[in-house]
């Protein structure tokens, strides 16, 4: 069973890496919030899996629950931001600025 759990965790990690691509690529800031939320939920699962691999799962479930809760609060807080700051542009900011963004800032 342990090797199965190991492979499961590595596969989840790989998928988290792919989700990280969406966070990096954007294009809007809300896509990033969504990606962070997905990564947070999956980390909850990973924490329980790590607990089972260590063989001390009773110690890890509390962390997972606290983690899920804080992930929820952060997501709600981040989305509340847009209730106060409407009319943010469609296009989020990336690493490189697009030409239109630069002109808009001037």
């Amino acid at each position: 069973m342990n090797s199965f759990l190991n492979w499961t965790s590595i596969f989840i990690c790989f998928l988290m890496l792919l989700t990280m691509l969406r966070i990096v690529a954007g294009p809007t800031i809300i896509d990033r919030i969504m990606g962070a939320n997905v990564i947070g939920t999956k980390t909850t699962v990973l924490l329980v899996i790590i607990g089972l691999i260590y063989g001390r799962e009773d110690m890890f479930v509390d962390i997972a629950l606290a983690y899920a809760m804080l992930n929820f609060i952060v997501t709600i807080g981040a989305s509340r931001y847009f209730m106060h700051h409407k009319n943010v542009r469609n296009r989020g900011y990336g690493i490189r600025h697009r030409k239109a963004d630069l002109e808009e800032q001037k």
Binding site: I10, I50, M59, D62, A66, L70, I73, G77, Q105
Partner: protein, 341 residues
């Protein structure tokens, strides 16, 4: 520790850190920093540092990100973009960090191999803690016993640092005296009009009591599993933050007023130092909980230490909870308590 996992995670963390500092948007940077802390928490768990992971999950990933969101909400999202970068400063920063990195790389050849059980750090005092914690304090979680008993002084002053930080936030935000933080608006219904979203409100309101119960469980069960005063206090504070976000800041400020919070924070520190002073009065050293056996009925010196740890953890939790709430409510409303996130 599981090394395959470790290498994937460490690489992921470096990529995440690089992206966090290069994104040209403060909200995005805050979100990325949250994801970075989430991965950090995973890393600590994987290295076996469960208590650190718990603290990172609640403090680093949760409350820090919320504080960043609060300041982005109060100030601006904008990061100035230049066609020409500040070459001088960038070069200076790059040189300094490369020099520091080079020196550390040079020094890293002397470090013990990773996971070496005979590393010097694991050989002087920590075996004593591991071997004697059950016999001395009857607390199986070594981190808790070291935190509150063997190194109790350290933790007491850490708690006072937290209190000082809360006071500093209050002072900094109201330095010119133009903001007094009150009077808080009085309303017939404590729930102000604002973001009317039934789903989020209902779920948050329904979950908050259970989460607070969970926080108390974390606080009380810190002897036997990861957790303790710091984590329980932060989770308690985070439930108030959840209510402040999903309802309205006024709800929290009116029910958990600044006065209450400051009094609770001071009571927390007072419980900690009072426990130490009680030991002094009973004829032992400061914070030597064995003295409590004289006043706790049916306690031996060993279980008295366990009870003393419980008392100081409660103090820590009170202080941390109040200070977290104070820092959040002040940062998000710019010290006025008028309108929050």
């Amino acid at each position: 520790m599981i090394w395959q996992f470790d290498i994937i995670l460490l690489t992921l963390i470096v990529l995440c850190a690089l992206f966090t500092i290069s994104i040209k948007d403060l909200l995005g940077a805050a979100i990325m920093f949250g994801a970075y802390s989430f991965l950090m928490c995973l890393l600590w768990t994987e290295m076996g540092a469960v208590d650190v992971a718990f603290t990172e999950a609640s403090v680093g990933a949760g409350v820090s990100t919320i504080l960043f969101l609060a300041i982005v909400h109060r100030s601006t999202r904008r990061v100035k973009v230049r066609q020409r970068g500040r070459i001088f400063y960038k070069g200076l920063g790059l040189t300094a960090s490369l020099m520091m990195g080079g020196l550390l790389f040079y020094a890293s050849s002397d470090f013990p191999a990773w996971g070496d059980p005979l590393a010097p750090a694991s050989n002087h005092v920590s075996p004593y803690y591991l071997l004697h914690t059950l016999a001395d304090t009857a607390v199986p979680n070594v981190v808790t016993s070291v935190l509150a008993d063997y190194r109790g002084f350290d933790t007491m002053f850490e708690t006072s640092v937290i209190l000082t930080a809360g006071l500093a936030v209050l002072i900094v935000l109201r330095l010119d005296g133009s903001r007094t933080g009150g009077p808080v608006r009085k309303m017939a219904r404590p729930i102000a009009k604002g973001y009317e979203d039934t789903i989020i409100r209902f779920i948050s309101r329904a979950m908050a009591p259970f989460l607070q119960l969970f926080a108390l469980y974390v606080l009380a069960h810190g002897h036997h599993s990861p957790g303790g005063g710091f984590q329980g206090g932060v989770i308690l504070g985070a439930t108030f933050i959840l209510l402040a976000i999903s309802y309205d800041l006024q709800l929290v400020v009116q029910t958990f007023t600044e006065k209450t919070a400051l009094i609770l924070a001071n009571i927390g520190l007072l419980i900690y130092s009072g426990t130490g002073a009680l030991c002094l009065l009973l004829g032992h050293n400061f914070l030597d909980y064995a003295a409590l056996a004289k006043i706790i009925p049916g306690a031996t010196t060993v279980t008295a230490r366990s009870d003393g740890i419980m008392m100081v953890e409660i103090g820590v939790a009170l202080a941390v909870m109040s200070i977290i709430v104070i820092i959040y409510t002040n940062l998000v409303s710019d010290g006025t308590y008028e309108k929050g996130l």
